[in-house]
Symmetry: C2
Subunit: 351 residues, 2 copies
């Protein structure tokens, strides 16, 4: 079976390996059917990933593109304290990404095993490995041929009714916390940028889909960018223990995401520069404005018992929520040299 | 406010006009939150709409692109017998589609009112008009700048637990029904094709986004293609009255969609050529293989009381389900000259 139906068949076979009790009906009908458990409601999020915007076919391994496309939505569920229940994948792809790369003939021709698989297979490897690790089945989606590679990932999660962590719950006097470190993804992206530029100088004519993947010595540095870990377990812990008054995930960068949370809560924030958990090698700009860390930023009342780590990930108090004043900026950064206004500088489309 | 946040603000303002009890939290947080009513479960469907594949920026009015993008998912909900609850819209758009078209200066410059609005506004006009007509709020989505216009629409609907109309429920001896007529969308597309070719000859340099819309005299012929009506009320009626054993919507064409249903049910089908409700002007090929009619194809046991119309739309019996045999084709068309095998010839990507 070839074409769309063949691809759909292949995806359906691979998707059926991860069942979930809430998923009553998966791929194969007009709709999937989801049933929340007693006393639960569903959180739903959608995230676009576009070649040239969110990833680059000539930079990112296909496995990373699949991983990151799913990680964005899992991180949104984590920020609500929701348990992942089902994923939907809409893929618009150029035809050469669903076909096998051409193998050079001749007895000296050698090609790595990963390059023998179509790009779509390796994308699914990355997507489904992260899905399996989070016990979330692929429940549906759509496929289309396109001149541009676009993935739209929808995730649904379950959360006890009324217990979701909202952006709007922060109050003056609450404290600001962050999981993990800040800026690691930006450091990784910077390194990838350098590698890609070097690769382009040495192999200017290599086809994007058949280019070798990144050297393994760089993997540790690149990993936070290529294979970020959404903080699903940490979000679940926060919701179940009713610790946080508000939460958001760090997808656009601390300065931008904290501004979103402040706007929804009608408050302002003060950050302590000395307390920020910089990732190794990260500059202040990367820690404050670098996107895609997928850490959780959460707010808790002073009386809440916030541990120093949640599910093996460090938690750091980085500031406090204050009343919003018309004359003051929404976010102030307290440094040894005094207080400065922090302007949201994360990514914004169409600007 | 400009850029992505400005566009998001505009969409959020317009989206908040249609509340729904199941939508506990809409645009503005990491996820939307949906809570089904007692004894209900959710149906979820996603549909891509891509410039050059599912629509053409230089052919389709922006309002039609928005309408059709939503109609596809509403039709999937209808085929499950689900009541629409919430829509999610992921939009990847070239920058010029979110900006105001440039107005020529000079006292003789004239431009129609619709051309003064950005393409995105007119897309939302079409999308939200159909959403309002079906009482479904826009609950979330994603925005990104792109070199290609892509919309991915997610729809969730509510259905009583266990009452969804599946593709897999058909049995030998059941009868096959269709709502409305067959081929009207294909006739409309053919007419649009002719108009666009004529327009191109007369105005070869007009920018796609500022081209005049289709002449009004053609509207009746074009309407089934540009503004199809998903059969939401008819699907709800079938599920609530427990009349149908299986259902699917006609998005890819009768020959293809009936083959899907037969495959999921493990059965074969016979169609009576003389019974097919051809749309005015439709050829046999358009009626059998033309996609995007968005009528419902449903199956019912012989004892079921199927009315001649449901919610003011005609219902026609067009054939019967028979046992699947290895030696026989899945679909046979019975004509006055004898029986012929009907090969699925609907649209398939990557083929």
């Amino acid at each position: 079976m070839r074409g769309e139906l063949g691809l759909l068949y292949k995806i359906r076979l691979r998707a059926s390996q991860t069942p979930a009790p809430e998923l009553r009906l998966g791929i194969g009908d007009d709709c999937a059917i989801l049933r929340p458990g007693p006393g639960e409601e569903f959180a739903v999020t959608t995230d676009l990933s576009i070649d040239g915007r969110h990833f680059r076919l000539d930079w990112h391994p296909a496995e990373s593109v699949g991983h990151r496309a799913l990680a964005r939505g899992l991180s949104d569920l984590a920020a609500m304290g929701a348990r992942p229940v089902a994923a939907f994948l809409s893929l618009a792809l150029p035809r050469d990404l669903v076909q096998k790369p051409r193998v050079r003939s001749g007895r000296n021709a050698k090609i790595s095993s990963s390059a023998q698989s179509p790009w779509i297979d390796r994308f699914l490897d990355g997507f489904l490995a992260l899905a399996d690790a989070n016990h979330v089945p692929l429940a549906g989606g759509d496929l289309a041929e396109s001149t541009l590679a676009v993935a739209d990932v929808v995730l649904t999660g379950a959360v006890a009714q009324g217990e979701a962590l909202l952006r709007s719950g922060a109050s003056a006097g609450d404290l600001i916390y962050v999981t993990g470190t800040l800026g690691a993804a930006a450091v990784g992206l910077q390194h990838l940028n350098k590698l890609a530029a070097a690769l382009k100088r040495t192999r200017p004519r290599a086809k994007p889909s058949t280019r070798p993947s990144i050297p393994s010595r760089s993997v540790a540095l690149l990993s936070p960018h290529l294979y970020p870990t959404p903080r699903v377990a940490q979000g679940l812990w926060l919701a179940r223990n009713a610790v946080a008054s508000a939460a958001i995930d760090l997808s656009d960068g601390l300065s931008t995401d904290l501004a979103h949370l402040c706007a929804e809560s009608g408050v302002a924030a003060e950050l302590d520069a000395a307390a920020l958990p910089f990732a190794p090698g990260a500059t202040a700009a990367q820690a404050l404005n670098g996107g895609e860390d997928y850490e959780l930023l959460f707010i808790a009342p002073p009386a809440a018992r916030v541990p120093s780590s949640i599910e093996s990930v460090a938690v750091t108090q980085i500031g406090r929520i204050v009343a919003s004043k018309r004359s003051s900026p929404p976010i102030t950064l307290i440094t040894p040299k005094g207080a400065v206004s922090l302007t949201p500088q994360g990514w914004q489309h169409f600007s």
